[in-house]
């Protein structure tokens, strides 16, 4: 780390000159970026993921084909100029559906990550600052949630609540909110443990003690001094969490319990494709590769972020 020692002791005696031996001050972001760039695969993954994201967000303007135009004369066709990714069993254009599905899958991934990070950081911060008794209770709760069988419980909750939420929020919104909340709500535990561990070590550090001696309230200590220093590992874990949430959503949809057929997320397209593997392998291959490529690039970016943000790592 670049050290910037202020010459406060000598400031009265002589005008402050920029010392030539000191390394120029580098902001933490720039330093992180410098470390991140050394991970070649992570940089490459960042480029690929950015391209996927741009394609998914702006795709509908570049490829203005409806996702639900049924064309029985073009059923189960392989890739062609008219349909670059081929068509499905109703003759719907797969490129358009995969672009649309990417919005759903990436949206669910990001939103579920934010839910998990919010819950995880909140509980972890409380646990790290509160009394031993509260801490023990919260950690027991965290451990219990960690021991829950995730996918069976996800399926159970969706099975029991889907009709009610559909009535409450409409078909698309209801399913989206439910999937995001349930996935995020079952994945906060690793983040809690991470944040708590950070808090436990940071709250004994000298700079926190100094702030406390200056009369900072507990809230201020937490928000201004400890939390910003604990964010590095949270960012790393959060990035991986996006990939996990995308896999969780695809799994649900693949089992036929996620999004309905008129909202083609990537997992849902794969679910529809699996019975036509022998006639139209392109159908499953394109949607599955989209999931794979996205998850792989996010995992590599997470690995690069770990290199970049972990101060213990010497590069």
């Amino acid at each position: 780390m670049a050290s910037s020692t202020p010459a406060s002791l000598t400031a009265d005696a002589a005008p402050v000159l920029p010392a030539p031996v000191l390394a120029p001050h580098v902001s933490p972001t720039r330093e992180a970026w410098r470390r991140f760039r050394r991970h070649k695969l992570a940089v490459f993954s960042l480029v690929v993921l950015t391209l996927i994201a741009i394609g998914v967000v702006f795709g509908p303007w570049l490829w203005p084909v409806s996702i639900s135009d049924i064309d029985f004369s073009a059923m189960l066709q392989g890739p062609s100029w008219a349909h670059p990714f081929g068509t499905d069993d109703l003759g719907q254009d797969l490129l358009a559906r995969i672009i649309y599905g990417g919005r759903i899958s990436l949206g669910v991934g990001l939103a579920a990550m934010f839910v998990a990070v919010f819950v995880g950081v909140t509980i972890g911060a409380i646990s790290g600052m509160a009394s031993a008794r509260v801490d023990a209770a919260l950690m027991w709760l965290t451990d219990m949630f960690l021991a829950l069988p995730q996918l069976p419980l996800l399926l159970l909750i969706i099975y029991l609540f889907r009709d009610q939420l559909k009535m409450l929020l409409g078909a698309q919104g209801g399913v989206f909110v439910m999937i995001v909340v349930v996935i995020g709500g079952l994945r906060w535990m690793p983040l809690t443990r991470l944040v708590r561990a950070q808090f436990l070590s940071l709250r004994e550090k000298e700079f926190v003690e100094a702030a406390r001696a200056l009369g900072a309230s507990r809230m201020r200590l937490m928000m201004r001094h400890i939390l910003p220093n604990a964010l590095g590992p949270v960012i790393v874990a959060g990035s991986i969490e996006v990939a996990n949430a995308i896999i969780a959503e695809s799994t649900l949809s693949f089992l036929g319990l996620g999004f309905p057929p008129d909202i083609p997320s990537w997992g849902r397209i794969l679910f529809d494709a699996k019975d036509q593997l022998d006639n139209a392998p392109h159908w499953a291959l394109f949607s599955g590769s989209a999931i794979f490529l996205t998850v792989l690039t996010i995992n590599y970016i997470g690995d690069g972020l770990r290199d970049a943000l972990d101060p213990r790592r010497v590069l």
Binding site: M144, Q150, I157, F161
Partner: protein
């Protein structure tokens, strides 16, 4: 490992099991829909009969009494009746559980057998070519969701090459050696798909665990005594490095169950995972609850086993 450690671990498992049962019951109690919903709207059933039925089945009791009723019947193995299969839920689950445990166990064994040698070799020469190749394959391995690898395997081995069957048959007609061969052919794909996914994640844990130990002073001491590199690695490093791996294998079980549900569904293996999906699709609530409860209990049992093994392997744990 002392007896008191075992007893303490066993006692600690009880609150977690109770906690999980509370979570399951809460989900069930909060869910909309009434088991007598159909009866209520039926004009042929008089209101007094409806009320009597509700009272008889304890639907009007306070929620904590309902919870204890439910818990005791779950613990007694009285899990209700499956409407779709026309049989007791407990019997149904027990029939299917063997298949699931066999597939899961073989897959986990495969994962360990693949991951441990590769992880150790990768850590022995960190940042070497082998390490980088292993790392790349591990990343690809756990970024490929099991539902996609399963479909790819079917596409390659069943459809294109026509080597393996892709529909699981529980009543094979062959006998003797031919039966074993057919059984092997139909289980190899689900086991490999699940096992290699688990193995990919495990390789990284083994590698980092070995790297943690290999830097310790006692390893340097062993080397400076002139013990060969191979012996240092196997006798001094690996024995200690594998202790945390035991815990990781057990802690990953909730994730493994997720993978098992998916692979059973793809390859139509008649285990409790595919039972869960089919009963969700046919609205067979008692079976859904039963299977979820079994999954939860299995996770706790395996965590317990891991803890006990941990205490056995690492004597320092006992005195904490």
């Amino acid at each position: 490992m002392s007896l008191s450690y075992v007893v303490r671990r066993l006692l600690l498992a009880i609150p977690s099991l109770l906690g999980i049962s509370v979570v399951l019951f809460t989900v069930l109690a909060l869910a909309p829909g009434d088991p007598f919903g159909e009866l209520m709207t039926n004009p042929n059933v008089p209101a007094s009969v409806q009320l009597a039925l509700r009272a008889q089945f304890g639907l009007d009791d306070p929620v904590y009494i309902r919870y204890f009723h439910w818990l005791f019947s779950m613990l007694h193995g009285d899990w209700g009746f499956s409407f779709a299969s026309r049989m007791d839920v407990a019997t149904l689950i027990m029939q299917r559980l063997v298949v699931t445990l066999a597939v899961l166990g073989s897959a986990q064994l495969l994962a360990v057998l693949v991951a441990i040698p590769i992880g150790i070799l990768a850590a022995a020469k960190p940042y070497s070519l082998f390490d980088q190749v292993a790392n790349t394959f591990a990343f690809i391995g756990f970024s490929l969701p099991t539902f996609f690898t399963g479909l790819l395997a079917i596409l390659l081995f069943s459809i294109t090459l026509d080597w393996l069957p892709f529909v699981f048959q529980s009543n094979l007609s062959q006998t003797g050696l031919a039966w074993w061969w057919a059984e092997f052919k139909q289980t190899i794909m689900p086991i490999c798909v699940l096992g290699l996914f688990q193995g990919a994640a495990l390789v990284r844990y083994v590698r980092s665990s070995v790297l943690d130990v290999i830097r310790l002073d006692y390893v340097t001491t062993a080397r400076s005594k002139g013990i060969g590199e191979r012996k240092v690695l196997m006798r001094h490093v690996v024995r200690n490095a594998l202790i945390p791996v035991v815990t990781i294998v057990a802690l990953q079980l909730p994730i493994v169950f997720g993978g098992a549900i998916v692979t059973e569904q793809i390859f139509r293996v008649p285990g409790i995972g595919s039972l869960l999906i089919s009963s969700i699709l046919t609205n067979d609530t008692p079976v859904v609850m039963g299977v979820t409860f079994v999954f939860a209990a299995l996770v706790i049992i395996f965590n317990l086993i891991a803890d006990l093994l941990y205490g056995l392997l690492d004597p320092r744990i006992t005195y904490r």
